[in-house]
Symmetry: C2
Subunit: 338 residues, 2 copies
Amino acid sequence: MTTIKHIAKQAGVSVTTVSRALNGYSDVNAKTRKRIEKVAEELNYSPNSLARSLVRNQSETIGLLVSGFTKESIKDGFTVEVMSGINSYVAETEYDLVLFNTDSSKQRKKTYTQLCKERRVDGVILQGIKTDDPYLEEVMESDIPCVFIDIPVSSDHVGFVSTDNIEGARVAASHLAELGHRNIGMINGHEQAFVSKERLQGYKLGLQQHGITYVPEYVKDGSFIEQEAYNQAIVLLQTHPEISAVFCASDLMAIGAIDAATHLGYRIPEELSIIGYDDIPLASYVSPALTTIAQNKYDLGYYAARMLINILKNQQKPEKCILKTELKIRQSTSTSIR
Amino acid sequence: MTTIKHIAKQAGVSVTTVSRALNGYSDVNAKTRKRIEKVAEELNYSPNSLARSLVRNQSETIGLLVSGFTKESIKDGFTVEVMSGINSYVAETEYDLVLFNTDSSKQRKKTYTQLCKERRVDGVILQGIKTDDPYLEEVMESDIPCVFIDIPVSSDHVGFVSTDNIEGARVAASHLAELGHRNIGMINGHEQAFVSKERLQGYKLGLQQHGITYVPEYVKDGSFIEQEAYNQAIVLLQTHPEISAVFCASDLMAIGAIDAATHLGYRIPEELSIIGYDDIPLASYVSPALTTIAQNKYDLGYYAARMLINILKNQQKPEKCILKTELKIRQSTSTSIR
DNA sequence: AATAAAATCCGAAACGTTTCGGATTTTATT
DNA sequence: AATAAAATCCGAAACGTTTCGGATTTTATT
């Protein structure tokens, strides 16, 4: 492996000059630079980023901490699409991405912050962690620049990007109300998700705007899991047969709910309207195709990466960034027949 | 940021001893070790992996080079699932994963090998590159340990894992033949994919085993793209109306083909049987649910990661690893009515 | 030709570890 | 108590860069 020293020797010059030549400094003679570049080329030199990072005290590396990259949750294209957005932006820069493994066994021994500090990442993007995750606190206490996705926290070194969950959920509920539904159930995620709290709020708001009173028993938690949503939908529909429409806080749960309803003999959308949230790839392929609130998951990642890198370059203070959502009307919702 | 020196000073001991204590060497007194560990804890020490990597000349980092992590190809859950498998295995080890960005602008300036050498990754996993990708050659010429997915190359430092594409395609064709079909079309990927060559071979073999002669005009390339498969299916079915079954080299293309056939007025599977390949999450959700050859994409990644790390630890020579596939019969194929 | 200014170059220290080879201290043996 | 053996510790060099401060060389000015 050839180093700067080899080049220096070969070119008859000091390592300082080699370093400065190769890094484009102005105080090196054009001819010298040419010669050095030629030697570097000949010796097939590539700089050792470890050494550089060590002395520069920055690694040009950003950490990616995602949950939901497990075998089970692949079907839910959400995480992946966010990652793809992150990847795309980062690809435009000189940074590389290191994927931190959220394996539980390792997690026990080393905290995330330790991982980040060891690897000397310049910053971190976090996605899919729960509100009660100890890492949330850890990050706030550390001074690692950091951008959260879908968790509204901020400080002088942490920002976040999210979509407008309240508005999205409000639109979902309104859509159902405007179709004439009065008894609208909801299958939410879980307590430890900020988005769930917000979506519940939006749901209530939507009902209120249409003069519908909020019935707590109409709301169940499905933990963002298809099967769990199936179970909760069964319960919900059996105990409250007056319900004619259900808002699900994720598409995967909506798919579970459709299955449940179909199993109970409902025809969809004629007898039961179901609206999802996310607009994952599956949404438009299932039948009936899912009416849903679309989030731009790719942008979520793209903007998160952009914000982080801007922070790292001191071009921006951490801030919040809220993306718009969009109602996509497909086949799983229709006017109430009751 | 506290270093080993701070600890040494605080604990009244040399840096050598701190290093050896923290790394579990035997030649340090139990009491000294305790004291050092306590100081390290108090000072909130975490080792600088950059410095360690520099002197050890290994980074405990493995590079991941995937194409197909773009916005467009997310629907095809293939890449993601492979990545998830890789991630899972790597999570069990002390390695971390760095994602190399295959952005074209960067690509032009730095070759993959340069990226790998700069970042000093210990090894690389490659997925989704084409057979005419210059990097293939680059890798073979370098000495970076490396595992390919779905490209059968090997040397003293490169191995690969793949599925049995010939057998899988043979089973697909046989399945159709056994349902009574005699005119079986195929929509393949493209010339630059090894898997396409193999699947074509398997398709021919399957036909042959059932006494069906191979008709070159029955085979089109759909480039693994849904829309392109749609187009090719239209052409294929219009020019050869005798075709009663089509084997598609990917599920996404099968979905495109189903769309095309439906558009042309075919009822599926009654009038046209379609079988896919991959068994992506979508496959079981579309209607009719897709009969397909399932590959264990997760395992593909998992085994690739395992092989690479075994190579790095000198516990294994690079080798090839071929996984089995499985025919999943769903609703898109049925007996021939002609 | 002497001097000043600009251009070009360099030595040495530093980043935070690991590790070689040997030194010192402690314990066991006679 | 002297000696040998084992246990414990340490100094210094090394990994491959960058960068500070200054030295040397070249060019421009008088």
